[in-house]
Symmetry: C2
Subunit: 146 residues, 2 copies
DNA sequence: CAATACTTGAGTAATTTACATGGTTATTGT
DNA sequence: ACAATAACCATGTAAATTACTCAAGTATTG
């Protein structure tokens, strides 16, 4: 779980598409203008978003990107994970015996927290963000430690 | 709201202290050895953690750091915020009129998400992490959009 | 007074971020 | 067929951030 401005750019772009895709596919040029993100950077991001099957593309005039699924089937977690690489929680492997040590305990606890945060973001869909009406309490009831 | 490996280091270090501070203050050298973080980097992080009043320090032999409050009064949110600077959600100010535009709408939605995420991490205390028994459902009931 | 350990600061290699540039391929309308 | 469009692809890079080294200073203990 990692959360940087890169993830913000991705989520922002996905929001832009979700809001405008009624009239057909959205070009990256349009998103670039509207959101103030460089075209080149958007290309990088959308290569990953496509690889993660969150958007589909159409070439040529009238082409662009659209969501590959309905907005309530796309979670914020998926978007973040598509573009932001994961924080390596264990560099334990190596000389140090890190099976029962203090080190691994802390790492384990961090991994728990990371999983918890991910579950949280899995419960928030792109659509619910747009609607501003995702009752988080309802969705959160399922989240527990493994 | 920002979340990088820097935040992970901070949380890990705080966990280390919480687990060991019974016998008195914990030195950064110890944390450095146990967690595999460089002393110099820990010094940077703990300067901020102290500034945020999450730890208190004692100099000289037998000195070190301890939590400035009980572990269940320190939230993960506080730790993260102490070391990780906030993502600038609005670069809208400038030439573009960004009061009602698409741009500001996306930014507003991101800010909502950010706030939601923060509320979530506010509900998780250092202690509950250690206990692995923070029923998130109970805590989450309060979280709603503004 | 010597050892400890926090405090402070300057400097730096490595990585990541965000962008620029210059192409190529596929699709559309004329 | 032929432009125009827009996704795709690759390389390069300035700026920022990360995580660290090194070197001093200051407060506390025994």
């Amino acid at each position: 779980m990692k959360l940087t401005s890169k993830g913000r750019y991705a989520v922002t772009a996905m929001i832009d598409i979700a809001l405008n895709q009624n009239n057909g596919p959205i070009t990256l040029s349009l998103i670039s203008e509207r959101q103030g993100i460089s075209l080149s950077y958007l290309e990088q991001l959308f290569a990953k978003l496509k690889k993660a099957d969150l958007v589909s593309s159409a070439r040529g005039p009238g082409g662009g990107y659209r969501l590959s699924r309905s907005a309530d089937e796309i979670s914020i977690s998926q978007i973040i994970h598509a573009v932001d690489e994961i924080i390596d929680a264990q560099k334990c492997g190596g000389k140090v015996n890190c099976q029962a040590g203090e080190k691994c305990l802390s790492h384990e606890l961090w991994r728990d927290l990371s999983a918890l945060m991910d579950s949280f973001l899995k419960g928030i869909s792109l659509q619910s963000l747009l609607d501003k009406e995702h009752g988080s309490a309802k969705e959160m009831k399922e989240i527990k430690f493994g």
